[in-house]
């Protein structure tokens, strides 16, 4: 816990926030000045300034809970969807130096619009970005996820063949299921 962090204080039960969920790792409460009704802030009890500091196991837990809270808000208040937003870093408009997830229930004519304007990049600019990022992800192993090698041109044919086979099997299976 970090001193003088508002979210840590809430996590420690010192805030006067309207808590909607709590376990030993996370706490979720209603935002005092919400974007829409049911706007929830979900945060870790441990103090992490930005998302990169949060261990993978906690990320897994936080977003599992975010999904449930999203469904709960949706079912409790009706509406047509939710936005889940992480503002990570000052450039992204992060207000508190404590990682948190915002869950915003949406409904018709709620006055919100997160629709950004698309930027048109030249083919060259796109390729530069692609290559720069690929250099970093090439050696990346994330969360025990089995890394797949780049799909080489030659493999493409065999891959599609395999898929077709899979589809056949799938169809056969569903046929057998019909009584």
């Amino acid at each position: 816990m970090s001193e003088s962090c508002a979210l840590c204080e809430i996590g420690a039960g010192k805030g006067i926030m309207k808590v909607v969920f709590e376990d030993k790792d996370v706490i979720a409460f209603l935002k005092q000045k919400p974007a829409t009704f049911g706007h929830i802030i979900l945060t870790t009890k441990k103090h992490y300034t930005i998302m990169e500091q949060v261990p993978d196991s906690e990320i897994n837990h936080v977003f599992k809970i975010a999904n449930k809270l999203s469904s709960a808000a949706f079912e409790a208040l009706g509406g047509g969807g939710t936005n889940i937003i992480v503002q990570n870093g000052s450039g992204a408009g992060q207000l508190h130096p404590h990682f948190c997830v915002e869950i915003i229930p949406r409904r018709d004519n709620d006055g919100l619009n997160f629709q950004w304007a698309n930027k048109q990049l030249s083919e060259e600019e796109m390729s530069t970005v692609e290559l720069t990022i690929k250099q970093e992800t090439a050696s990346l192993v994330i969360g025990g996820g089995e890394k797949k090698k780049e799909v080489v041109e030659e493999n493409k044919e065999t891959k599609t063949l395999k898929e077709k086979k899979g589809e056949e099997n799938y169809l056969l299976k569903s046929l057998r299921r019909i009584p």
Partner: protein
């Protein structure tokens, strides 16, 4: 947002659409889904990462250069359809991308954005995370989250409704977790009521569940929506 047109399949809707089993419908959706076709390699994309559960591609109409989409390999339209491990994995990958962007794109942050449902701005029938590199003054103020003044009583009402739902959705877990905590922390005297109280601690007026439920159902969703305007 990606605006690529789907592959020209040339075939209309199959006649037996109504008679399809859920599995067949899923399969049909998958064939029609542009992102499923990107994942299978039938449609070209600028792929920057792939593992057994997900794929990351550059958004061809980015909000900022380096805007990445992270897609589950299996076809899920919305968040609640996905298994917990896939949800977790997608966000772990998003975290990694946020870190990469900070390191190599000379940005000072990343917005991780999910539009879950059409009203939330979802455009494609395939669930995805947006990871958008950000820096001060990048003219993406549209991603700032507005704040509104609401009354204390409205907040309490919303809290009550959400607590009730989340307790149903996670009921068993909350009890288990509360018990865990109970064992750790010194045991209060009224042991029996600990579980209930833990969940409803912030509610100042004690809700009398069954009875008050009926009264509240008179408050329509429209009333709630109106309050915000």
């Amino acid at each position: 947002m990606v605006t690529t047109k789907g592959p020209s399949s040339g075939q209309g809707l199959p006649e037996n659409l109504d008679n399809m089993s859920p599995e067949e419908l899923m399969d049909f959706q998958k064939k029609k889904c542009i992102f499923c076709n990107i994942i299978s390699g039938k449609v070209q994309s600028k792929k920057v990462y792939e593992d057994s559960k997900c794929i990351a591609i550059l958004d061809i109409n980015p909000a900022n250069p380096g805007h990445v989409l992270i897609l589950p390999k299996d076809h899920y339209a919305i968040l609640p359809q996905m298994p917990d491990d896939v949800i977790g994995h997608l966000f772990v990958v998003a975290k990694a991308f946020s870190g990469i962007m900070l390191k190599i794109l000379k940005v000072s942050g990343a917005t991780i954005f999910v539009a879950n449902g059409v009203l939330a701005g979802q455009r494609a029938q395939h669930f995805m995370l947006h990871v958008i590199p950000r820096k001060e003054g990048d003219s993406l103020d549209v991603l700032n989250i507005p704040q509104r003044q609401v009354s204390e009583s409205d907040l309490l009402e919303v809290q009550k409704r959400i607590v009730e739902k989340i307790s149903v959705l996670l009921g068993i877990k909350i009890e288990a977790k509360a018990k865990e905590e109970k064992d750790k922390i010194e045991v209060p005297k009224k042991e029996e009521k600990v579980v209930e109280k833990k969940i409803e601690k912030p509610v100042e007026k004690k809700p009398q569940k069954e009875e008050s439920d009926e009264d509240d159902s008179n408050i329509g969703l429209d009333d709630i929506a109106r309050l915000l305007k």
